[in-house]
């Protein structure tokens, strides 16, 4: 546990200072947490419960984790398609309000709607292989309880959307992207092949 506390995903101080310059002027009052967070729902779902297979559910994630991720999106440290462009649109205070709002919501495992035909289905055989791979690479040292565990540095991955997890593990393996990750996680990822990482995604997606 002590180790977890000192494990830092990224240093965010400089980024946040930069974002403050972009944010609201002092004369302007901030919008409320729900007002700001509700604008995210078009992609991340009502109250952060995503209905889209490639969009992560963010409901109930720790506020500190969400804040760090947003800061990394804004600085470009964490590669993204649109999140960088959006994250730059908020002050540090606004991001804190957004993060607190989603942290208050209740997590729900990914569940495909009847209109979704593009979601990748969880493959039970792959999930089994993935489970083995997580042990070998010691993923469970941080992503405890088969990925249910979360803390300030660790997002819940159990029951997350499979396509989102597949994208993320592909990104982690992509040298062009340089996704920020804890040193220990990098060591684990390096041990796994692309196929094993795909299986890991299936494993965590299969968990509830």
């Amino acid at each position: 546990m002590q180790q977890r506390k000192i494990r830092m995903l990224t240093a965010v101080g400089g980024v946040l200072a930069g974002m403050m310059l972009l944010g609201a002027s002092a004369a302007q009052a901030d919008a409320t947490g729900p007002m700001l967070a509700n604008t995210c729902a078009g992609c991340h779902g009502t109250n952060g419960i995503s209905a889209g297979p490639a969009m992560p559910t963010i409901a109930g994630m720790p506020a500190k984790y969400l804040k760090a991720v947003m800061a990394d999106f804004a600085s470009g440290k964490r590669p993204s398609t649109i999140m960088g462009r959006l994250a730059k649109g908020y002050s540090e205070a606004e991001i804190a309000l957004i993060a607190d709002e989603f942290a208050k919501q209740k997590w729900q495992n990914a569940k495909s709607g009847p209109q979704s035909k593009m979601a990748t289905a969880v493959n039970a055989k792959l999930a089994k292989e993935g489970e083995k791979a997580t042990k070998g690479a010691k993923c469970d040292k941080c992503h405890e309880d088969n990925g249910v565990f979360q803390d300030d540095d660790t997002p819940r991955v159990a029951g997350q959307w499979l396509d989102y997890l597949r994208f993320k593990v592909q990104d982690l393996k992509n040298p062009e992207l340089k996704v920020p990750q804890a040193e220990k996680m990098k060591t684990g990822i390096d041990k796994l092949s692309a196929e094993q990482l795909e299986a890991v995604a299936h494993f965590y997606a299969s968990q509830k």
């Binding site: 901030d30 209905a51 490639a54 969009m55 398609t81 649109i82 649109g89």
Partner: protein
């Protein structure tokens, strides 16, 4: 006079101490006391979201949504249907989810709005009273020379998703190899700025695969268009744009692309080329007429000379009629595009403003976002995203805090990811709207 003051007045006149009134909000309405009523006209990306989010924020408010059609067909992703790689059934939604939030759904058409009497009348003979009214009818189309009801049977616009979407898909499928497809893009402003170019891209994808000798001609009233650089880069990569063999040809308004009349009998459109009419014949023509605010918004006197509804950009309350809020495509939204996501974002501002007002409070600061994906092929997506605030210093324009489009020359896997994000965007925003 707001309901709050009216209610206070009634209570005061019947001898209840004023001090108890201020605390009476937030507790269940006392027996016999009328509930606050909100009527929402139109159940699309804007209206349905206002209805749901009012109920989520304040279940004491009675919300009635009046919508003409029992089934809703989404415009976003309907270009996939046009190009033959998506089933129309996946575009179809209904209002059962909203009923679970306690929204009363009335399938009927609002024919008149009485801002002074605070009521709406429907084709079905209903009269609905309101304390706050939301008008979210989407767009309608201006009359255009030669594009009458008869012509519209042969040449569809399919700029509202529904039966015409399928008709256009069938017309494209029936083209012979070597036939020309003409797409006529409207002048600004109109619903979904990148939409005509996404449609052109996806039809070009279909032609490349199925009718490689066919060409696609875009006749445009405008000198430039949304995400133009990215579209043209993708067209060059995918469809030989700029070369002699290009599937797509785009003619700007300045270069003779401005269509002045339609002739459905000849299957032709005529452009104005420096004062001379030029005839363009297509085996299939997709004519998107100039857009205007929804007819009910015009009839209710909510529009001004621009053809759109001026609103206060901090609440989207009409500048013409107090107590009426105009959401989505019909509004003059101060620089936000007429997109589904912008309508969704505006709807949440309106829901919060109405709930505040009905509870005797001033609406808070709004926040607006747009994210919008376009497809150039089934594996090639691009996006635009922006965040805006209200700035009292520029009351007619929202203040852009950040914005941007997908990077130029991005690797293929990024384009593919954005294509998949597009479909996920659709699932989430539809769930946010209808579940």
């Amino acid at each position: 006079m707001t309901n709050l003051t009216r209610r206070s007045f009634i209570k005061l006149s019947s001898g209840v101490a004023a001090v108890s009134l201020t605390s009476s909000f937030g507790v269940p309405a006392i027996a016999g006391e009328a509930k606050q009523k909100v009527v929402v006209v139109g159940g699309g990306y804007g209206g349905a979201v206002v209805a749901k989010y009012i109920r989520m924020a304040d279940p004491k408010v009675q919300v009635t949504l009046v919508e003409k059609n029992a089934d809703y067909y989404s415009c976003p992703l309907s270009n996939w249907v046009v190009a033959g790689f998506r089933d129309m059934a996946l575009q179809k939604w209904n209002y059962e989810g909203l009923k679970k939030h306690g929204v009363e759904v009335v399938i009927d058409e609002v024919t008149a709005i009485d801002p002074a009497g605070k009521s709406v009348a429907t084709a079905g003979g209903k009269k609905l009273a309101y304390d706050a009214l939301v008008v979210a009818p989407g767009v309608d189309f201006k009359d255009f020379p030669g594009y009458d009801a008869e012509a519209q049977k042969k040449i569809v616009h399919a700029w509202k998703a529904g039966p015409d979407t399928v008709t256009l898909a069938k017309q494209i499928a029936a083209m012979q190899d070597g036939d020309t497809f003409i797409l006529v893009a409207p002048a600004d402003p109109y619903r979904c700025p990148p939409g005509p170019y996404e449609r052109a891209s996806l039809v070009a994808h279909y032609l490349k695969k199925n009718k490689p000798k066919s060409k696609l001609l875009i006749l445009d009233a405008k000198p430039k268009f949304s995400k133009q650089g990215l579209f043209q880069e993708g067209w060059t990569q995918l469809y030989g744009f700029g070369s002699d063999n290009s599937i797509i040809k785009w003619v700007s308004g300045a270069e003779g692309g401005k269509v002045v009349r339609v002739d459905a009998k000849e299957m032709a459109v005529y452009t104005d080329n420096n004062g001379f009419e030029e005839k363009h014949v297509g085996a299939c023509i997709n004519f998107i007429p100039p857009n205007t605010a929804g007819k009910i918004a015009i009839a209710a006197g909510l529009t001004n000379e621009s053809g759109w509804c001026p609103v206060h950009l901090n609440t989207f309350e009409s500048k013409q009629h107090k107590g009426i809020f105009v959401v989505g495509d019909s509004s003059a939204s101060g620089g936000m595009p007429k997109s589904g996501y912008a309508a969704n974002s505006q709807a949440k501002v309106v829901a919060a403003a109405i709930v505040a007002r009905l509870n005797g409070k001033e609406p808070g600061e709004p926040s607006y976002v747009n994210t919008c994906y376009s497809m150039l092929s089934p594996d090639y997506g691009i996006s635009v995203a922006a965040v805006w605030k209200y700035d009292p210093a520029t009351p007619d324009k929202v203040k852009e805090i950040s914005s941007g489009v997908s990077p130029s020359k991005a690797p293929d896997f990024i384009r593919k990811q954005e294509a998949l994000y597009n479909e996920s965007w659709y699932q989430s925003i539809m769930a946010d709207t209808f579940s």
